[in-house]
Amino acid sequence: MQPGFLSIRSLTKRYETMVAVDDLNLEIAKGELVAFLGPSGCGKSTSLRMIAGLAPATSGTISIGGKDVTQLAPYRRDIGLVFQSYALFPHMSVLKNVMFGLEMRKVPAAEAERRAREAIAMVQLEGREDRRPAQLSGGQQQRVALARALVIQPSILLFDEPLSNLDAKLRDEMRSEIRSIQKRLGITSIFVTHDQVEALSMCDKVAVLNGGRLEQLGTPNDLYERPATAFVASFVGRTNRLSGVAEGDCISVGGKALRAPGASKGKVELMVRPHRMVMTAAGETMPDFGSEPINSIDGEIRDVYYAGDILHYEIDAGGQVMSVERTTSGGETPVSPGSAVNLTWRVADTLVFGAAQ
């Protein structure tokens, strides 16, 4: 592996009864925004705290810009950290909060104030310099926290679920704002989140963690289209699962033969994204996939949910429940439950994994 700007080697955090982070290896290039994505307890926050120096590593090394920082105290690491709970200094004004890091770096007061005001302007909080954190809304507080972390121009910027305490609309706004500021300044950043939409839409790369281990590091497209493990496939995006027995590229699922890219053997799990499956009811014309090889199974509609932009069907296909989506075009009547339908998808859209456990 090419050594990155941030280089994490065999990083492990062991508590008395459990391993929180297990042999994590990661290389992050300069200027990249990388998400640490995973369910709660997967070790993403612990990893971040180790990078920040707030939690000591049991073993392994962390180096930033070629310098080993594993044993350094947080205040010697030159990092910025944005907390989920904002963690602003309640006894200081917005301006003093943002100036704090510069003061600690012994930047002359006049210059510190000028830079702090610039940072406050960057997060669009001009005019609120003299307010106390308690006088600001949650979104504004998180902007102050962002300005406070940015103003010191850290070599690495860390975000610990910074948007989790904000409501949905504000979250979208902050997401694109953080992304554009990060890109403009070219700061190498790590963004911890349990929200896959956040990870996929904002970040250059996503590291999926599960049970303290790195499942996959890749671009959002890699994760979605070419998940390395069954966990990644089911955690990132929604999937339909089918279990079967493979023999080469032919897989038998409940007596029906399906095909999959690549050869495998033994018990396997097939996964297909719901929106890649095409549902055809009796009397409708079969979709045309051209010369592409396709898979096809029959089933019966169990339920229909209307969600405005899509119609969501639940289909019983030989005992396995599958989800399929259709975009609404207005005026159509949903295919009613009980109808026999056919599901078709491209062989290329079939993901195969060795059966778990």
Partner: protein, 291 residues
């Protein structure tokens, strides 16, 4: 809803709240009035009466007690010494209690409960008993001096002087200080300390720039409580001072019980009340400044 009900509804609600408030506050107003306000007013009246010696009171009202107290160098010295000694005790109590309170604030689970009980447990014995304990430790042939002598050092005079009073009162006031500090530590947040650390603050800077300002409400409350208790305590200064340390509270005791000059004792009591009032004003000013 008609206009009439719209107008009367809030009105009747207000009057019922006033009634409820009177009902609920009534008992405390009665108790405070009878047991606190009346005696204090009585004391104030007494301070303007003439002392006839042997405990007798003259019928006429006079300003003599006040004028002699506020002009007499002995009493001015007494007031200043009382305030300074109490301030010193307060500061020592704060310095000794702060690390304990901070540790307790961060302790968790059963360990925290055990420590808290240990901190409070001195309050289960009376200050008199604890003062005699200090006599045993500080006396000329007490624990400390015997140890010093055994080590070949010179013995120190620790009892029947101000040193003994300060040591004893500091220890006796520590539980109150620790409890007050803990009550005022609510704004401490480990995340905020971590934020300061990641911004480049050394542990020393984190302590002075973050922890100390955020714990100021507790510090102010603890200091107010300790100061008031230090100024008004007389058993410990009397026993550990051995009659050689003169403070306002011990002087009041002497005037009231030994000399039987009640008007003078009342005057000195009123002066202590004024000092408390000043401390309270200072406390609220400080609190407003830090919040």
């Amino acid at each position: 809803m008609t206009a009439a009900t719209m107008i009367t509804a809030p009105g009747s609600r207000t009057s019922s709240i006033v009634f409820l408030a009177t009902l609920l506050l009534g008992p405390i107003i009665a108790v405070n009035g009878l047991a606190f306000i009346m005696p204090v007013l009585n004391l104030l009246m007494l301070s303007f009466r003439e002392s006839l010696g042997g405990g007798g009171l003259g019928d006429a009202y006079t300003l003599d007690n006040w004028s002699s107290t506020l002009v007499d160098g002995f009493y001015i010295e007494l007031i200043v010494q009382s305030i300074l000694t109490s301030l010193m005790i307060t500061i020592l109590t704060l310095v000794a209690s702060y690390p304990i309170a901070l540790y307790l604030h961060r302790a968790q689970g059963r360990w925290r409960t055990i420590l808290l009980v240990l901190v409070i447990s001195p309050l289960l014995t009376s200050a008199v008993v604890r003062t005699y304990g200090w006599i045993a430790i500080l006396a000329d042939d007490g624990l400390i001096n015997n140890t010093l002598k055994a080590l070949g050092a010179d013995a120190m005079r620790l009892l029947f002087n101000k040193v003994g009073v300060v040591i004893g009162l500091t220890e006796i006031l520590m539980p109150y200080m620790i409890l007050a500090l803990l009550a005022g530590f609510g704004r401490l947040d480990p995340r905020v300390e971590e934020a300061a650390e990641t911004l480049g603050a050394s542990p020393w800077k984190v302590f002075w720039r973050i922890i100390v300002p955020l714990t100021m409400p507790g510090v102010a409350l603890g200091c107010l409580l300790s100061f008031v208790l230090a100024v008004s305590s007389f058993i410990t200064p009397k026993l550990l001072g051995g009659g050689r340390v003169f403070l306002l509270a011990t002087e009041i005791y002497d005037q009231a019980i030994v000399t039987l000059n009640w008007p003078l004792a009342a005057t000195l009591s009123m002066i202590i009340l004024v000092i408390f009032g000043a401390a309270l004003v200072l406390y609220s000013r400080l609190l407003r400044a830090v919040l």
